[in-house]
Symmetry: C2
Subunit: 199 residues, 2 copies
């Protein structure tokens, strides 16, 4: 692994352990096997490091949905919903999702972070729209779908369901939300109609 990979791993570990509000360069250094001075050599501040970390999370996320993928477009979107909304386990939200919720709540007060989250949002919506366009070209999806509109609504729904999963914990309606997203958003993409098959 490169030093950068090690730093990203240390940031992930520290974020899970401390949450975003209590994250410090020292907490990240404590998770980093190499020297603290090396960390400071690469990053001036926690804010600086977090922007790179969010970029790194985006790359990892998008690599799961390769543009040149031969996978069925509907299955790709189903997989994205499952990954974002989270597991179907009853053991509550995981630490990283709790930390990212706190981080997102800071964005309105932190311009560099907000700008990185804007870039992440644009890339993710663009990838969703690309999958929809590819589904339309393949004749798999209806040709009267607006890919950008669908991408914005779908991303809102999966992110909203993930946030509820974290905020409401064991009482979150995560499985019902995921089933609803599947039925009302994803099945609506195909020519077979919206709800008939599953009702």
């Amino acid at each position: 692994m490169t030093t950068d990979d090690d730093i990203m791993d240390a940031t992930f570990a520290a974020l899970c352990k401390h949450g975003y509000a209590d994250l410090t360069m020292q907490a990240i250094a404590d998770e980093f096997e190499k020297s603290k001075s090396l960390l400071h050599y690469h990053y001036d501040s926690k804010e600086d490091l977090i922007v790179t970390f969010m970029e790194h999370l985006l790359e990892n996320f998008l690599s799961e949905f390769d543009e040149d993928s031969d996978d069925d477009p509907l299955e790709q979107l189903q997989r994205m919903a499952e990954i974002v909304v989270g597991s179907d386990e009853d053991d509550g939200p995981d630490d990283v999702h709790m930390a990212l919720l706190g981080l997102r709540a800071q964005a309105p007060y932190d311009e560099a972070l907000r700008e990185q989250l804007v870039r992440n949002d644009q890339h993710i919506r663009e990838r969703i729209a690309d999958i929809v366009r590819s589904g339309i070209e393949q004749g798999r999806f209806r040709d009267d779908i607006d890919p950008e509109q669908f991408a914005a609504a779908f991303r809102s729904a999966i992110e909203g369901a993930q946030s509820h999963d974290v905020i409401l914990g064991p009482d979150a309606p995560t499985e019902t939300a995921l089933a609803g997203i599947e039925t009302f958003l994803l099945e609506g993409l195909t020519d077979d109609g919206t709800v008939e098959q599953t009702a």
Copy 2:
């Protein structure tokens, strides 16, 4: 106005001014025209007060969507989406939505707050499901819709779009998300098909 109404107004004002993380009983008292001791007489702590405040916000919200309303069910859901997702103005998120984002991020660490947000979530989803049921009974909506599944997906989508509006500020795709929610979720409720009319 009753003392309780005055306290709720003072809490709203203090929350808008300070955000949730920096909210104190003193900050609320500063917005309260009556005495600070009266505030402490009614509420033991900030946590205690905030639970009542979230209950109060829920009541205000639900009163906009009266169960016995004669309004068209589709129009009621459209209005709910517009109210939750926020204004179409370019002036960024308002202070109360920023404060509520911070508050929700604290729920995983604050059991009384989490429990109140769970109750709010259940009530709001139940009201959405009631509107859908009423639309089905009136023959306005398709009769193969699962009201609970729809409610969970719709609530995730409108809350997700609102969160993005706050987190991403002026770069949030709020209008596109709202249009997508309308096209892909709301128009799918009617018998006319999902997208034909607007594409």
